[in-house]
Symmetry: C2
Subunit: 446 residues, 2 copies
Amino acid sequence: MDASEFRRRGKEMVDYVADYMEGIEGRQVYPDVEPGYLRPLIPTTAPQEPDTFEDIINDVEKIIMPGVTHWHSPYFFAYFPTASSYPSMLADMLCGAIGCIGFSWAASPACTELETVMMDWLGKMLQLPEAFLAGNAGEGGGVIQGSASEATLVALLAARTKVTRRLQAASPGLTQAAIMEKLVAYSSDQAHSSVERAGLIGGVKLKAIPSDGKFAMRASALQEALERDKAAGLIPFFVVATLGTTSCCSFDNLLEVGPICIKEDVWLHIDAAYAGSAFICPEFRPLLNGVEFADSFNFNPHKWLLVNFDCSAMWVKKRTDLTGAFKLDPVYLKHSHQDSGLITDYRHWQLPLGRRFRSLKMWFVFRMYGIKGLQAYIRKGSNKLTKALLERINNAKKIHLVPCHLRDKFVLRFAICSRTVESAHVQLAWEHIRGLATELLKAEKE
Amino acid sequence: MDASEFRRRGKEMVDYVADYMEGIEGRQVYPDVEPGYLRPLIPTTAPQEPDTFEDIINDVEKIIMPGVTHWHSPYFFAYFPTASSYPSMLADMLCGAIGCIGFSWAASPACTELETVMMDWLGKMLQLPEAFLAGNAGEGGGVIQGSASEATLVALLAARTKVTRRLQAASPGLTQAAIMEKLVAYSSDQAHSSVERAGLIGGVKLKAIPSDGKFAMRASALQEALERDKAAGLIPFFVVATLGTTSCCSFDNLLEVGPICIKEDVWLHIDAAYAGSAFICPEFRPLLNGVEFADSFNFNPHKWLLVNFDCSAMWVKKRTDLTGAFKLDPVYLKHSHQDSGLITDYRHWQLPLGRRFRSLKMWFVFRMYGIKGLQAYIRKGSNKLTKALLERINNAKKIHLVPCHLRDKFVLRFAICSRTVESAHVQLAWEHIRGLATELLKAEKE
C-alpha cells in the first residue's frame, strides 16, 4: 500500500469509524458468539500472497464485529467506562504516523516535553499540590503509564527500593532478601485486585485493612495493623489508599490515613483510577483533600476524561524515587544532554523501555474540549441500581452489566460508560430492569 | 466535535499523515531544539474554552515537529528500527474506534480470539514447535505484550512462582523470602539492559555469563556458573538467551544452552526482540534452532515486521505457568464462560489489566503484505559501519546514529530503520560518513 492508496483507504476508514460511532446504539451491546467462534471463520495460516483491503474491511463486519462487546454503546454499563472521543482518535492517527519510541529525551524531544507539560496542565486542573508538578525546576512531575496496575506496581517497587536503601544504610550487613521478608504493604479490603497483584509481583506481603461501614479505610484499623505488625518484627513500608473503589466507589479517608503514613515514614500511593477525573470540578475537589500527604498519585484519563486508552496519569513528589529504582544506563541509550538536569528520560519512570507519543491525545482533548467542556462532561451524572437480576438481564442482551460483592451482598453495578449515553438510554434500561424484576418476582411466587 | 466534523477532520488528518510520510526524507532527521524548548511555546494551563482544530494542527507544525526525532526518516540509523506501515495505521484507527479493553474473553470475544489466532499464524510463519501454538486444544499459545522488557519480566516472574511452588511442595516449611534469597537468573553479558531490570524488579540475583569471542553465550561458561552457584547453596532458576543482541546482533548458542536448561530444570526464555522477524525467511530459520528447549520465546513485530508499536509477540509452552503466577479473580471480572477451558483471559498473561485490540494490526499487515511480501521486506538487507565519528556525524545532523560498546571497542551502530529506506539513502549516508572521516583524519594530521 503506497501513500496514494493510504489516502483513499484512510478516508474510507474515517467514514467507517464515524458510521460505527453513529450507529453503535443499533448494535447489540453484548455478542451472541460462543468461545471458539472465530477460528473456523479464518484461514489456519497467513496468506502467501497479499489480500486486498476490500477483503479485509468486509471481514471486519463479517468476522470481527459479531464478536465485539461494544464498550461505547450507550447500553454498556459493565466493568467501567473507557474513554473515547474524536479529538483523541485524531491525535492517535498522528501518534501512529510519527511513530517515535520516546524512552529518552533525545529519542524524540517533543514526545517527552509535551508529556511533562500536559501532566502539569492536568495536575493544575486537579489543583494538585505544587510539589507534584514538574514546572521548570520541580523535584516532582507526572508520567503517562499504560494502566493504574502499572502505576501501583511502579510505586510499590520505588517504595521497596527506598526502604531497602534506608535500612541498609543504617545496618550495612542486611541483605535485600532479609529486608523483603519483613516488608508489608497495606490497602483497604475494597482495593482493586491489581494492588494484591503488585504485592505478588514485588514479592512482599500485602495486608487488607478492614474497611468501615461505608467501605472506607480509616485511621483506627490501619494503625492497629501497623502496631501489630511492627510488634511482630515486620516493616510497614507502603500504603495504597483508594479514592473510588471498583465495587461501590467508596473513598478511603485520606485525611486520617495520610498523617499516619507521614508519622510512620511509609510511602502513600493514591489510586483514584476510576473516580479521579471528577476532581477537575471544584465541587468534587474536596474528595481529594489529603493528597498532600501522598508520595504518588494516579488516575486514569482513559476511563472518564475522554482520552482513549491507554493514558494513566501518575505523579510523584520526588522523581528521584522512581528513577532511583529503575535507572540502568547502557551506552546505546545514552545521549549528550542526559546529565544536564534539565531533561527527563521517561524510561526510568516506568516498567517497559518503549513508549508511544501518548501526550498528543491529552493535548488534542484538553484543547478541543477546554476545561469547561471537560467539567460539563463529568457533571452529566451517574446511577446505581441494586437488584440481583443479572442472569435475566444479561441473557436478554438488551443491556449489559457486571456484578460485584460488597461484603456478603451481591450487587449489580450500573456504570455510565459510553460518551454518547443520554438520560433516555438510562430510563429505557431502568424500565427494562424493572420489567424483568417484576417477571422474576411473579415467577418466584408461582 | 461531532461525527460530521470528525469525517472532515479525519480526512484532513489522513492527508497530513500521508504528506508527512511522503515528505519525511526532506525533514532533518534529528531536531535542533535544546532541552526545555517546548514549555515556553505553549500556555501554562489548559484553555478554559475550546480551541479550534485549525489552531491545533497549525501548532503541530510549529511546536511539535521541530522537536521530533524522525524515526521513519530513511536517514534514521539510531537505536533500532520501529515498524510502521499504512495497513497497520489503518488497523489502529479501527482499534481506536472499537476501543474495547480486552482483559477477558467476555470483555470482547473478537479481541481475545483474533489475538490467539494471529499468534498462531505468526508462530507458524516462524515454524515454532507445535507446543507453542494454541490450536484448538494446545497447552501453549501466544500473547501480545507491550514490549520485550515486559515479556522478559513476565517470564521471570512465572519462573520464580514455579520454582517457589516446587521447592515449597518438597519442603513445606520454606518461606518465599528464604527461597528468593537463593534464586539466581542468568543471561549473557551482551543481554539487553531490560534483563538486568527484570532481575531488579523481581528481587532476584541476575548473573552475567561472559560471552565468547563472537559475543555468544556458550555451554561451558554457563555450566561453570551454574556449578559454582549450586555449590554455594544458590538455586539457578532462569536463563535468558538472546538471539540478536542490541550491540552487535550476536546470537547465544541455543543448541548448547538449551539442553543444559532442560537438564538443570531451569526456565529458558529466549529474547529475539530485534532479530526475530528474520526467522520468517527459511534461510534465516536455522538461527532459531534450539527454540524447542525453551519455555518461553519473544520477539517484536513492532521492530522489523511492519506492525506499528506496540506489538511484542510472546509464546509459552504451558499457559498455566503464566496464569498460575498472576491469576486473581475478583467477582467483577468473572464471566460465565470463564471455567469452560475453551477460553483465554489474557489479563492473566500480562502485567497490566487493560489491553487494546492490537491483533487487528497483525491481521491487516499479514493479510495486506502476505507472507511473501513480509519475507521480501526482511531480505532488503542491512549495513554496519565501524568508525568512531559519532560526534561529527550527529552534529552535522544529516544522518543520526547511536554508538555501543563491544567489550572495549566503541562502535557505531548503523541500523536500517525506516520502512522507506532505499539503497540510495544508505549510499548517501556512507559517502557522508566517508567525507567526515576523511576530514577528521586530515585534521588529526595537521
